[in-house]
Amino acid sequence: MKSRSQDQSLTDSRELDRSYDPLTGSVADDSELSTVCYRPEGIDRLVQQTNFSKKELQVLYRGFKNECPSGAVNEETFKNIYSQFFPQGDSSMYAHFLFEAFDTQNNGAVNFEDFVISLSIILRGSVTDKLNWAFNLYDLNKDGCITREEMTDIMHSIYDMMGKYTYPSMKDSAPKDHVDSFFQKMDRNNDGVVTIEEFLETCQKDDNIMQSMHMFDNVI
């Protein structure tokens, strides 16, 4: 129970400027002016921290700032942006996992540094770094190993992006089967979890995966 005076004055001021309707309890959208504004560190520092050139950072920042003028993306906006690329399915779950992976500081917002550092790993890092990043994405609770449940969640989120209208039509067991095949491939010692070493080892042996890792070399 808050102190009465504080609460009272809050109510009064809110009613006075009419942004608060006591009947419905809704707050008018003036509070939308978020005064927080993240500014990234200097561009030179970012050039050092990442593998991007100055020009590339400029292009990235322009796009970033355009969509998020406040300087940081929250999860809603993140999901929104990502869903525009997948009109047919529901990409919110995968976007959520991505957000968790990008948000290295775990503060609910991805600012430009987080964004650009992760991008640098994915696009300009070594193959090991990329695989590490992917492992980190799958490992939802960041405990160093991927359990079956985590993988199932990830798989479901990927399959959700396909939406309903697919050919052949999506069976409910498709994600589960995929998870099974994944574990069969990756889990060497059959202990039910995939550790980072198993993951790296298997991926480095698989030509397809190695080749697809290089797909990102010229994205920017």
């Binding site: 798989m155 309903k164 697919t166 039509s169 498709a174 990102f216 994205v219």
Partner: protein
């Protein structure tokens, strides 16, 4: 894909790294920018005012003038800028659209000039943002109505080839079109007035003979009134029949309110004619005369105001109903109270609760006839409370109703408008969404993915029709397909295949899906290109003239189904074997032929294949022929 997030496409593509270790199939090759241009500033000179922006900003919307190569027509070599001889003020909004992805409509701008500018720059007005859309639509509608009004005035000029019936109908509806119509209008009006006055005067007591009591004029001058009545009714009947004849839709005319009023106005006379002999029903006949007063409603054809009032009452019905209901409640309450209060007193007029209703109503409306008055003290107290509350109960809702009515009326109009607009907008959004996914499916069909493979220069140029952005987006979607081992299809096809899967056990895809034809070609060529070693079923494949639709992107089941399009070049038959044949299929060939296929050798299945495909091994000798 909204170009506002075009800048985030690299991020979305990078995020696809999450699919890579999970995918079992190889990923398609990414489209590359052959000439990696540095982003440059371009100058747009619009009637002297210079705007500058990045080239990439304009490239976000490739199907507009500024985003496509159309702007090259406006390039000025000497000054190295693009010159447009258009309004710079409106251009501001246009350019902002590229920058922010939202198109705004400036309120001070004339709607038609704005429309013209949008048309010039190839921007569809439907994408105007929500903030400005309503204003835009309102202005546009106003403008259209204004133009339409002008047109209508012109249209009133008689068209030479209107039938007599149409002329008549127009004369009835718009009396100003011709003198005849005007004459008719005034004559009917006059007779309505005469008829109403007659009805009224009929009941006035005329001078009486000295020894008789006063009789109303109607009974004194029966014949005169009867003639007058007959004349009026004849005119009304003729008018009604003429309207009925001229009406474009007789059924609808007969159901309309005005025609019902007409009928009700003239019917009593005819019924009276039929029934004069019978004594018993003459009482009923008298009451029928009451209906003659409905003739006064015929004036509503002549008066616009009456019509508006009628419509007003109709639309305000719920408010009036509420007023009535609350009044009824109050009446019942007070009547009950008064009855029980007055029960004690002798010779009380309040004999029952319904009898008290009359007192309550008279008191609450502050009429106070005085024919019923309470005698007991309690009765008087409650009586006074009743009259005081009557003032409140009646006086309060009325202004509320009036203002309510006005507000609700306008609000309803706006809400309906918005609802209609919303539906249309959602439909448009859905269309653009499916448009983007359709774009992907479409380009799949056109085999554009193959441009990344060893295709010749010429084919690359041909397939440059999609922008780099689009091709990158499509590549992304394609990677997802590979990861999950399912393909995106459109709704139609999905329904069809669902149906088919249910219907038949052996693979057959409906032949009606000519839209999916291209996929076959793409399917097979891709596969054939990727796997240089012949597939176990490659031999099977070669037997197929047109390519199957049903084999998935895996070394899987090859089932033959109906034919689809037979590509133009017949060398396609050996396409599957010639692995390094250049890719892009001309699947858009309009030449469609039928072919009979024979099922090849029993297909080899893989475990995955079985899980996904709805059918078992292809049945031999299943031949399906269809002409598309």
């Amino acid at each position: 894909m909204a170009a506002g997030v075009a800048a985030w496409l690299p991020f979305a593509r990078a995020a696809a790294i999450g699919w890579m270790p999970v995918a079992n199939l190889p990923m398609p090759v990414a489209p590359t920018e052959k000439s990696k241009r540095q982003d440059e500033l371009i100058i747009l000179n619009v009637s002297g005012r210079r705007f500058q922006t990045w080239r990439n900003t304009l490239d976000r919307y490739p199907d507009t003038l500024l985003g496509s190569s159309e702007k090259e027509f406006f390039y000025n070599e000497e000054t190295k800028e693009y010159f447009f001889d258009r309004d710079p003020d409106v251009f501001r909004s246009v350019l902002n659209f590229y920058r922010t992805g939202k198109l705004h409509y400036p309120r001070y701008e004339c709607i038609s000039s704005y429309d013209e500018e949008l048309a010039f720059f190839g921007i569809v007005p439907e994408i105007i943002g929500d903030c400005c859309y309503e204003e835009y639509k309102d202005r546009k509608r106003e403008n259209a109505e204004r133009l339409m009004d002008d047109q209508e005035d012109n249209k009133d000029a008689k068209l030479p080839n209107m039938t007599f019936r149409e002329t008549m109908w127009r004369a009835f509806e718009n009396p100003h079109t011709s003198t005849m119509a005007l004459v008719f209008y005034y004559v009917t009006g006059f007779f309505i007035a005469v008829s109403v006055i007659t009805n009224v005067v009929e009941t006035v007591p005329c001078g009486s003979a000295p020894n008789q009591k006063e009789v109303p004029c109607g009974e004194r001058y029966t014949v005169a009134f009867f003639c007058m009545d007959t004349a009026c009714v004849m005119i009304f009947t003729v008018e009604y029949l003429m309207r009925l004849f001229a009406a474009p839709s007789r059924y609808r005319f007969m159901r309309s309110v005005m025609s019902i009023i007409d009928v009700v106005a003239i019917l009593p006379y005819y019924i009276g004619l039929v029934m004069t002999d019978n004594e018993d029903v003459s009482g009923a006949f008298v009451t029928l005369r009451v209906f003659r007063v409905f003739r006064i409603f015929k004036f509503s054809r002549h008066s616009q105001g009456l019509r508006i009032l009628g419509y007003t009452l109709k639309s305000c019905a719920s408010e009036l109903g509420f007023l009535l209901f609350s009044l009824t409640m109050a009446i019942i309450i007070f009547a009950t109270v008064m009855f029980y209060a007055e029960k004690g007193s002798s010779s009380s007029k309040f004999t029952s609760i319904p009898a008290s209703f009359w007192y309550t109503i008279v008191t609450m409306t502050t009429l106070g006839y005085g024919d019923m008055v309470p005698k007991t003290i309690a009765g008087k107290i409650f009586g006074s409370i009743c009259s005081l509350s009557g003032v409140l109960v009646i006086a309060l809702p009325v202004p509320v109703i009036v203002s309510n009515f006005s507000r609700i009326y306008h609000q309803n109009q706006r809400a309906d408008k918005r609802r209609a607009q919303k539906k249309a907008r959602l439909a448009r959004i859905r269309i653009s969404k499916t448009g983007s996914s359709n774009a992907f499916l479409h380009s799949k069909r056109n085999g554009l993915f193959n441009e990344a493979l060893d295709s010749t220069e010429e084919e690359q140029r041909l397939s440059k029709s999609t922008s780099l952005l689009e091709s990158q987006h499509h590549h992304l979607l394609h990677c997802l397909e590979k990861t999950t081992n399912h393909e995106f299809v459109d709704e139609q096809y999905y329904q069809q295949s669902y149906l088919d899967a249910g219907l038949q056990n052996y693979p057959s895809r409906s032949p009606s899906l000519s839209s999916q034809d291209g996929m076959t070609g793409t399917c097979c060529t891709r596969r054939s290109k990727k796997h240089h070693t012949p597939l176990p079923n490659a031999s099977a494949a070669t037997h197929m003239q047109p390519l199957t639709h049903t084999h998935t992107h895996q070394q899987g089941l090859q089932e033959l189904s109906t034919i689809h399009i037979q590509p133009l070049s017949t060398s396609r038959s050996s396409l599957n074997m010639r692995v390094d044949e250049p890719a892009p299929l001309n699947c858009q060939s309009s030449q469609i032929t039928t072919a009979i296929i024979s099922i090849p050798t029993p297909p080899v299945t893989t475990p995955e294949g079985d899980a996904h495909l709805p059918a078992g091994p292809a049945h031999q000798n299943v031949v399906k022929v269809s002409a598309l």
